[in-house]
């Protein structure tokens, strides 16, 4: 199971994908806000969005799992 993790501690500013959507390696899936900067989080795998564990305005720690992906066969 591939995961997309928070790259920095901060607040979830915007979620750019929805469940079931197919995403590519390198695609921006979520924007975090930290230190007053908008920080895009990219997927490091190809896959289909299986679960989104956060909602907008949530606080997240670095390394926290934001999105889970299902690998596409």
């Amino acid at each position: 199971m591939a995961k997309v993790e928070a790259t920095i501690v901060g607040i979830v500013s915007k979620i750019l994908v929805s469940i079931g959507e197919e995403i590519q390696n390198g695609q921006e899936v979520l924007i975090l806000e930290s230190m007053k900067m908008l920080i895009p989080v990219e997927s490091t795998k190809n896959g289909k969005v299986k679960a989104i564990h956060v909602k907008e305005s949530d606080f997240v720690n670095e390394g926290e799992v934001l999105i889970e992906l299902e690998e596409i066969s």
Binding site: I8, V9, M35, M37, L38, I39, P40
Partner: protein, 516 residues
Amino acid sequence: MLFEKRESHSLEGSRKMSELNEKSKRLQLGGHSKYHERSAEQGKLFVRKRLELLLDEGSFVEDGLFANSIEEELPADGVITGVGKINGSVVCIMANDSTVKAGSWGKRTVEKIIRIQETAEKLRAPLFYLVDSAGARITDQLEMFPGRRGAGRIFYNQVKLSGVIPQICLLFGPSAAGGAYIPAFCDVVIMVDKNASMYLGSPRMAEMVIGQKVSLEQMGGARMHCSVSGCGDFLAKDEPDAIRIAQLYYSYLQKSNGMDFESSDTLDSLTSIIPKEQNVPFDMKQVIHALVDQNSCLEIKELFAPELITAFGRLEGKSIGIIANQSKIKGGVLFGDSADKAARFITLCDAYQIPLLFLVDVPGFMIGTQVERAGIIRHGAKMIAAMSEATVPKISVIVRKAYGAGLYAMAGPAFEPDCCIALPTAQIAVMGPEAAVNAVYHNQIQALEPEEREPFIQSKRMAYQEDIHIYRLASELIVDVMVEPEDLRNELAKRYDLYSEKQLDFSRRKHPIYPV
């Protein structure tokens, strides 16, 4: 009679020569063929082939080929040392031969390494360490480990030579236990993916001593060191790639006056690359590529702490060292690792007279419990100390925001840059308008009716923006010059040329107390 005697001498001589040639050739073959085969299976080149690729053809002279030649199985005692040339410049070489007892160190191996260090110091020539060694030969420990000219002296010499001559490490195989300090004391470490490794304790030892079970790659693999620990600077895809990187790296340290160059063809696009909003990420690498000569950018520690870019580049053929905030990654915020990365790169450039360019777009140092516990203050202090002490020509360009101690760390006006240049998008402040209004007016905002808050905040933000407007800062002489992005390359090239004879003694004390 006399004639006959001479003839017999000459015959004896030629017999000796042929014996010498034969012995030399045998020694040059290194270890047993089975070890050569094993190396080839791992994608490794024989050490003499590595030297052939690295050095100018026919330039190499070797010392100590006969070291330990009484022992059949230890040609050259497992290390090749000598002097040659790269691109016409004299360089010294130490190269482990992993086909000879896995490149391990015996008494004469260590002596040869120490001697080539001494030679490099005398010649003021860079020393390339081609490392592929299992570490100490435990059976020879008394002769090679503890004494005055034991292995410790190699590291002592490295420390002494640091900043005097470039020390460049190409890591082709393991660099184990004490041997791992050779790369650690070099200026730069190029690691071959999959084959290179560095560790104090092997996975086998870790399992035995602390019960941890991990792979060699996890413990000290090239990718881990280049992206996580920061002990590696370049991740090479194979050995020829590592050698190409070493040559390229060294080319930036060589005098490059009169080199042909072409301007970048993307300079005109700079205005469109840099967003006007302070919080929107963009790719600072595009700015660097637009500023430097075409095809003249070599990023160092590209995979480590990428929120800060450190790179060599050339401006009108001359080398510069670039330190730039990358808002695309972690907002370009400075972390402990990015501060360490910057500190090291700044000292590298300063040691070898490479002028510095700071491209500033920094929201500040990271805050929060995680970084405080990791000592972000002392890490940040390292960067600020290194930048303060650098006496090479030093220019800071405020590309966008320069907030808080980020301004200081990126060679802000108080840190004696030769000039501080602002682009029209520049903004300098203790903190950005949003954070500042909240900090100053928090109690007042809370006391207001909810519907009154937003207009109040907006008006205070506007006033704050006016207060820190870049024209106001230029009017107060905080920045020295304002330029359009399209004119920046030209402005920088002119200024580095004018500042090239800069003389500055930062201090004559013995040394500072380093923040570490």
